[in-house]
């Protein structure tokens, strides 16, 4: 494929699609960004889940620890 063929195709494409060079951003996107940031889900660290599972397992296997824990709370 020659340079000339690429140039011809380039011309065809430019005729069909306007180069977007002059399009400027018409509004400030920060308010939209802030709304998006507010949707950030609260992420619980994996270690917290492990800790919770450990406590639940402890209560299941040794229920006697429940009143002891409540007493100390």
């Amino acid at each position: 494929m020659s340079e000339r063929e690429i140039e011809e195709l380039k011309k065809l494409l430019k005729d069909a699609l306007e180069p977007s060079g002059n399009d400027e951003l018409q509004r400030d996107l920060w308010p939209t960004m802030l709304r998006r940031l507010d949707e950030l889900p609260v992420r619980v660290p994996w270690w917290d889940w492990v800790l919770l599972a450990g406590v639940v397992a402890l209560f299941c296997f040794f229920p006697v620890t429940i009143p002891a824990l409540l007493y100390h709370l």
Binding site: M1, L12, L17, E18, T32
Partner: protein, 172 residues
């Protein structure tokens, strides 16, 4: 502490300052790929959203914030092309030139149809290199590939376009 260091530490004010500094440039870059103003605005926010979520991974010592941001913006735009390829395309999706009647209009329709046949990575490279005339070096940096890989993508894109146009009876 520098702005990018504060951003990497999760400071929202630093992120806002970087957002305001770079939003117009990111919008223009994405627009060159997706060619629709409303879509480019949405994807600009999406790109910054990904940037914010990845703030802890930004390399404050050797990292170039602008380059990192542009790579993320390019990925967001190419992802969008991949998603929209599976949907029914509308003519406005490609930011077509003002409509012209008759033969010219038909030719343009055939060119757009051929362009949509390209895979998103090829379409992105062809649009940036041939329509927007971005330097190959810039495209390579944005796509995180080598200059020769960009040339290969453009070459392959041009070959497919020529084939599709020949099949439609258009001789470029």
């Amino acid at each position: 502490m520098e702005l990018t260091e504060r951003f990497a530490a999760g400071d929202l004010d630093a992120f806002e300052a970087l957002f305001r500094q770079h939003q117009a440039e990111v919008f223009r870059w994405i627009l060159r790929i997706v060619r629709n103003t409303a879509t480019a605005e949405d994807l600009t926010v999406e790109a910054f959203w990904r940037v914010y979520r990845a703030h802890a991974r930004f390399d404050t010592v050797n990292g170039n914030f602008g380059g990192w941001l542009r790579r993320i913006a390019t990925n967001v735009a190419i992802d969008h092309l991949s998603r929209s390829r599976r949907e029914v395309p509308l003519p406005e999706d490609l930011g077509v030139a003002p409509s012209r009647p008759g033969e010219q209009g038909e030719l343009r329709r055939q060119i757009l149809a051929a362009l949509r046949k390209l895979s998103p990575p090829l379409r992105g490279a062809v649009l940036l290199a041939l329509v927007e005339e971005e330097p190959y070096e810039e495209i390579a940096k944005a796509l995180s590939i080598s200059v020769s890989a960009v040339k290969v993508r453009v070459f392959r894109g041009v070959r497919i376009l020529r084939k599709e146009l020949s099949r439609a009876g258009v001789q470029p």
